[in-house]
């Protein structure tokens, strides 16, 4: 069985982001980029399943401009067997629905038994792609996975999900879509020898035309601003003043 893992290249989680002065977006030049942390967890989970013998191959895929190749090399250095880069060129950020359509097209070619994604990307925090691609493929989905157990013979994945009320355990018939949450695993470090080997591995490039997918964006980013600065607190002198403020200023009473 093949496992396909989708990875996204985002601004590194440790970077302090800044909004561009023209409010068109976030400052991206000279900023460190890395693999989305949830995607790393996805790659790690795929590798563990393969190492446990339940899968034969891990294929990493990414959608984006030329530099996505770096992210795919990191996945290869962690241990992925192959990588596919869907070149989106100068289209700008590709939105979740478009990514979902692309992944559907790739799934139809590669026929994996499991598609793993991060639950959300830390740049847009959409938390949509996994769910959308499961809908398009009509596959079962186990999102916010904090534990995954694969039964090879029965072709079933047992997924423990982190939900608001606690933990929910689902049983999914493969093929299925799983999106990873933080506590699923601790991604391994890419070792120096593996990084070296990954440099010479071939990354297959695919265009949107070859996949027969058309991207049209029905969303337009109008403005990006920083959140309002937190105002200083006010010390009230009496309970009456507190009630007055709660009633008339905060309007919660």
């Amino acid at each position: 069985m093949k496992i396909m893992v989708a990875v996204k290249r985002v601004i590194d989680y440790a970077v302090k982001i800044r909004v561009k002065s023209d409010k068109s977006g976030v400052e991206m030049s000279n900023v460190k980029m890395s693999m989305n942390p949830f995607c790393e967890i996805g790659v790690e989970e795929a590798l563990r399943i393969r190492e446990a013998g339940a899968a034969s191959e891990v294929v990493a895929v990414s959608v984006g401009p030329a530099q996505c190749a770096d992210t795919l090399r990191t996945a290869l250095a962690m241990g992925a067997d192959r990588a596919i880069h869907v070149v989106s060129g100068s289209l700008g950020p590709v939105l979740p629905l478009s990514v979902a359509k692309i992944l559907k097209a790739l799934v139809e070619i590669e026929r994996p038994g499991l598609l793993i994604l991060g639950k959300q990307a830390i740049d847009d925090d959409c938390n949509q792609t996994g769910q959308m691609v499961a809908g398009l493929l009509k596959w079962p989905q186990g999102t916010f996975a904090s534990k995954v157990l694969l039964d090879k013979e029965k072709q079933v994945a047992t997924v423990e999900r982190e939900v608001d009320g606690g933990l929910e355990t689902l049983s999914l018939d493969l093929p299925a879509v799983i999106t990873t949450d933080l506590r699923l695993n601790q991604p391994r470090y890419a070792t120096l020898p593996n990084i070296m080997k990954a440099k010479s591995k071939v990354i297959k490039k695919v265009t949107l035309e070859e996949l027969n997918v058309e991207i049209k964006s029905d969303l337009e980013v109008v403005q990006v601003t920083e959140p309002p600065k937190r105002k200083a607190g006010v010390i009230v002198s009496s309970v009456d003043e507190l009630i007055d403020k709660l009633k008339n200023e905060a309007r919660v009473l």
């Binding site: 440790a14 970077v15 302090k16 460190k32 890395s34 991604p187 470090y189 120096l192 990084i195």
Partner: protein
């Protein structure tokens, strides 16, 4: 006796723009060194423990540090290979999470070495664009500023971000076939049975705070080379060890190295106040007449300015806090008006060499050489070290090539250094800094004489004063300095500044700072020097906690911010 932190040997995914500084390693150590946990075996073992059976990678040349010196050496090597139809494999190890992450510098760049290395750097898109447009020099007093004739000649120089230049150099190096691996710190020197250096080993990853192996444990890897070049920057861990073990200072120019700390912020200021290429240096306030140092303010592009204070580490008053002096500086009328309405983008600090000509160590050891600021080629009166570091890397590459291709001993590096413009330049600049051991005004006077009359031709070479760590005087001889509270607009407290340094460390890893003798802070630092470590670190990693019982605890905190 200022003991700063030892280098942060980071794991594979540390911060992007790292803060770190490093300190002189004295014989009469107070802090710094190895904890009782790590027993040094054949070089600094770090936390490898019983790491037998590590993987080994073999290269012709291994370079530790992807900075100006290391990358210049790598590029020059590949150029020589191309010219002479040779093929040498070159590997550069960089401890930062990406190339440039640990680079911090003013920087007014003299393109002399870059012109030699990559003559068409402009066409190749080097981020060297903002020409110096004005050059001012002020003597600051509490509320006034006295313009003085500028001692610098920055015509033809550029205001740059050194980290951006280094990133560009790395891309050029990779195009030529150099292998660069960021995220891997070289933490151990490898020797063969004849005590010749055969390479370095990277640090183990995934080690828990108590030294045990975590789930993600990966042993370090041995990276071996026929020649190893150490380009770690000022106070490089491996370089300092090699210099000590092989007595390279005695074999070289003979004097000890002296240091300063540079604390820097990058600001984005209001449009009307920004003048790209504008260069300002100051001396005087807030530092007193016995403390050598000064500030710099350079206008880059995109409304960004680089602002910083350099304080020499031979200051006498143990109550001095370089961080707080920097905050104080920003309130001076000449500077404050520029900053108001702007915001800070980044903060960082780093040590620099000030020893110059007198402190150059013999750079060659069996198996390789020390290059760049790890040896120390900063031109103090010019306050520039990038161009000399680059040239030292290029000359080392040529010596390395001669060794590998023709069998000429590496010692030819020393000879070529002495014949180069680096030597000539540092020789000419040799008497400026040592003159200040007599005080600020005599120093300025002697500097003026040197600049305008003698120009380095005096047949005498001033010696440095005491080593920095011996210059600290007892706390009893000085008064505590009352520093003003930060106003949050122009001056800030340490946690706010640290947040902006993008320093990000995983909690569960061994402490980067090891005290050789944990009792000394309580027995010596506190009673005699009023605990200067709680003031000299611009990241405040040392904290002295007093208990009611009268006992003191020295806590070392590795800051971690998300």
């Amino acid at each position: 006796m200022h003991r700063f932190l030892s280098t942060f040997a980071s794991r594979a995914k540390p911060c992007r723009n790292s803060f770190f500084s490093s300190i002189p390693n004295p014989s009469s150590s107070i802090l710094c060194g190895f904890s009782s946990l790590c027993t040094p075996i054949k070089g600094w073992r770090g936390f490898s423990g019983e790491s037998g059976g590590r993987e080994s990678l073999l290269y012709d040349v291994v370079i530790v540090g992807a900075g100006p010196a290391g990358l210049s050496a790598a590029i020059r090597l590949k150029q020589l290979c191309r010219e002479r139809s040779a093929d040498l494999s070159v590997c550069v190890l960089e401890k930062g999470s990406e190339v440039g992450a640990h680079i911090i510098s003013g920087n007014v760049f003299e393109p002399r070495a870059l012109d030699e290395l990559i003559p068409n750097w402009k066409d190749e898109g080097a981020p060297v664009e903002v020409r110096v447009s004005s050059d001012r020099f002020l003597l600051l007093m509490k509320d006034r500023a006295l313009p003085l004739p500028s001692p610098f000649d920055n015509k033809g120089n550029y205001v740059i971000s050194l980290s951006q230049l280094v990133r560009w150099m790395a891309s050029k190096a990779e195009e030529m076939g150099v292998e660069i691996y960021p995220g891997f710190a070289a933490c151990e020197i490898l020797y063969d049975k004849d005590q010749k250096v055969v390479g370095v080993a990277t640090n183990d990853m995934g080690v828990a705070k108590d030294g045990s192996k975590r789930e993600t444990f990966q042993p370090g890897v041995e990276v071996k080379g026929r020649v190893t070049l150490l380009a770690e920057g000022c106070r490089g861990s491996l370089s300092e060890k090699i210099i000590r073990d092989h007595k390279l200072r005695d074999k070289g120019q003979g004097q000890h190295q002296t240091y300063a700390i540079g604390i820097k912020e990058v600001w984005e200021i209001e449009e009307g106040k920004h003048k790209p290429g504008s260069v300002l240096h100051t001396v005087g306030w807030p530092l007193d007449n016995n403390t050598y140092g000064g500030s710099f303010l350079y206008h880059m592009k995109d409304r960004q300015i680089a602002l910083g204070l350099v304080v020499a580490l031979d200051y006498h008053n143990p109550y001095l806090s370089p961080f707080d002096e920097f905050q104080k500086l920003k309130h001076h009328p000449s500077i404050k008006s520029l900053l108001e309405g702007g915001n800070v983008l980044e903060y960082g600090a780093r040590t620099l060499n000030e020893g110059g000509f007198q402190s150059i160590p013999f750079p060659v050891f069996p198996g390789g050489a020390v290059i760049g600021c790890s040896a120390g080629y900063l031109n103090v009166p010019k306050i520039k070290g990038s161009h000399t570091a680059m040239k030292s890397g290029m000359l080392a590459a040529e010596a390395t090539f001669r060794k590998l291709a023709e069998g000429v001993p590496m010692e030819s590096y020393w000879d070529s250094l002495k014949k180069s413009w680096v030597w000539e330049e540092l020789h000419k600049a040799r008497n400026y800094r040592p003159a200040f051991k007599f005080g600020l005004l005599p120093g300025l006077a002697i500097s003026a004489l040197e600049r305008y009359i003698f120009r380095g031709r005096l047949p005498l070479t001033l010696k440095h004063g005491k080593p920095d760590h011996e210059a600290t005087e007892f706390a009893g001889l000085h008064d505590p300095i009352q520093y003003p509270k930060p106003d949050g607009i122009v001056s800030f407290d340490v946690p706010t500044s640290l947040y902006r340094s993008n320093t990000n460390h995983e909690h569960d890893q061994p402490a980067h700072l090891c005290l050789r003798d944990p009792a000394i802070p309580e027995l010596v630092n506190l009673p005699l020097y009023a605990g200067p470590e709680s003031r000299y670190c611009p990241a405040r990693v040392y904290d002295i906690i007093c208990f009611n019982s009268g006992m003191y605890l020295m806590k070392s905190m590795v800051p971690s911010f998300r």
